[in-house]
Symmetry: C2
Subunit: 371 residues, 2 copies
């Protein structure tokens, strides 16, 4: 490990300020956990904002002291990597609604001294972006060379372009969608129902007591099925058994069952069930188009785009992204679209580093040159 | 309603007989609920066996007295229909493990006088077929003109051909698979976990008490997502809201959420959670191939095949069925394969009646003529 240790920092919104939310409500206290990698140049023109997915956090790369696992996109962020920390100043912040340091349902409500639980207001992807904007204002950053992210991170990318087009030189939405379609809402809703069906959930009021772990584990298992492709599941597990012979019992018998169980159980140790509700809801609300024609959404936008999809991603499909490409092109926007051939399904953005690196590196260099 | 009322009949295995199961265990008492439509001809050569899917039952067509809903495949079974009751003698029986009249976990264990619950032995698709075979023996039927069914019904079709090739003149597997692949097991397993996570499940011992309804509802919701295509969900629901405006709350907001909730809630009124565990497990065990080459499985088979798939069925895909077609053809078996263009996903076998009717009617007539 030649890379330096990184530390999560915390931005606190000054007292008196508010974060207005799409719902009409507001947050009067706001904390944002964030990390930075690399150095800001004198002109502040080398800023890259990385946005994380549903279960991600601010810890995008490098190591925390006393931790043997690097950040969630470590192979993509570092010296000489796709997001080259010798050239660029990388910022990654935890979304609001999460449980990884930024304000969310497990934060202490200053008015009661207790965790918010369900009294935390519903947040949207637009709210997440506006919270990040407060952090950038605090850091004195007025231009973003590129905003990039996969899955829900990609939704934030699109929202950034829509809200602050003049700030964004370029955008890299990866394995994402311009709105949540019915099937995507359906999968999230079933996950939420699994959590809310757990008696330990107790209407969100379980902090300091038993957490709704079984419900959250089921929700995560559903999620995992959508993150893999049928093909990759088959290649990895097929019909392999945990033991030599079938036991004819309801215990875990197939490898795939064991894998899902393991994924579910390990998730509940690191994630809060209420945050799962809040963040999936934010994704379901996501619709960059709303009642508009998709083409009109991007009127006046001049940010360059690199859109990356994966051939076997059946959650956020290449087909959905091609509609986005078309809408951008109809606005004369400079768009590069690349569908990477991969059998890894949606998870590919966390696996297929070589091709992503080549595409992104080149795209960022070209963008930087146009400054 | 010009059609006659039908009545469910019950076959009871004679005392002293056993139904040996694939697990090595056996059932010493066995009831099979079944219905017949049409009349058996003198030579007993006009028998069609219809096999139902996961949540189906023996009530395939016509009306029960005092019931305003016809059987589950009513548009396909009746005078002049695909399975023409003026020509053929139709038998449909409820699978063992179910809760619709045949022996299953909610049956009374004669040894204890209480419902079996989890002490009911695990059953497989082969066991279901062997139970049906007892019924056919009882009815004195030695030849089956055709065995047909969709989804898990199609698995029984393939198993019938494998177990009793000499009895089966023809087979019509619809919207099915020759084995459960990892993703199919994964969806079932998550459903089972949702049920078993419900404290009311109580290790299967809940009869006479509160049933694990919330867990079963979640399981059914997951199932429903896999029964529809993303396209049909989008056409039917899209991002439509139940109310005019977003409420920014965890209550049902999108139409698709309401639909899934409704499907879940109505299912728990008519289905037993333990049966859901047993039957999904039987499906997961289904693997007509086992350790064999798929081609070798069908050696010596001379039954004619009509295999029907639906273009948007992503649960049991056309691609999987083409592997089956190939294996049959390599044995010189007479196979007609038809992929019906439909946006309805897996559910299409319960929706697309016109094309299925044409295909099946013609296929049955031709089979009947070869006698």
């Amino acid at each position: 490990m030649s890379e330096k240790f990184v530390e999560t920092k915390f931005y606190k919104m000054p007292q008196g300020e508010l974060l207005n939310l799409e719902s009409g409500l507001f947050l009067s206290s706001l904390t944002i956990a964030y990390e930075t990698h690399g150095s800001l140049n004198k002109d502040k023109t080398n800023v890259i904002l990385l946005c994380h997915a549903l279960s991600g956090d601010a810890h995008v790369a490098g190591y925390h002291v006393a931790d043997d696992k690097p950040g969630w996109w470590a192979p993509m962020v570092g010296p000489g990597k796709a997001f080259d920390t010798e050239k660029y100043f990388i910022i990654c912040s935890n979304v609001i609604g999460s449980c990884k340091g930024s304000s969310g349902p497990n934060s202490i409500n200053p008015e009661t001294g207790k965790p918010f639980g369900l009294s935390f207001p519903i947040v949207t992807v637009k709210d997440m972006v506006n919270a990040q904007k407060k952090l950038l204002d605090f850091l004195g950053i007025k231009k973003i060379l590129s905003v990039a992210g996969g899955s829900m991170g990609g939704m934030q990318v699109l929202q950034w372009v829509k809200e602050y087009p003049e700030m964004i030189m370029s955008a890299i939405p990866i394995a994402t969608t311009y709105k949540h379609f019915a099937q995507q809402i359906a999968f999230n809703e079933v996950g939420r129902q699994a959590i809310m069906a757990d008696p330990a959930w107790n209407n969100g009021d379980y902090y300091g007591k038993e957490a709704p772990s079984r419900g959250l584990a089921v929700a995560r298992m559903i999620g995992h099925i959508t993150y893999m492709s049928s093909e990759s599941m088959d290649a990895k597990f097929g019909r392999s058994l945990k033991n030599k012979e079938l036991g004819y019992e309801f215990a875990t018998e197939f490898e795939i069952e064991g894998y899902l169980g393991y994924r579910g159980d390990s998730f509940v140790k690191r994630f809060d069930a209420n945050s799962y509700l809040y963040i999936t809801k934010a994704m379901d609300y996501f619709d960059i188009q709303k009642d508009k024609n998709l083409i009109d959404v991007f009127k006046g936008v001049s940010s360059r785009f690199l859109i990356i999809t994966f051939s076997s991603d059946w959650l956020y499909t290449p087909a959905q992204n091609k509609e986005l490409v078309r809408a951008l092109k109809m606005n004369g926007i400079d768009v590069t679209y690349c569908e990477i051939g991969s059998s890894y399904g949606h998870d590919a953005f966390l696996i297929e580093f070589d091709e992503q690196t080549k595409l992104i590196k080149h795209f960022l260099e070209k963008t930087f040159k146009t400054l």
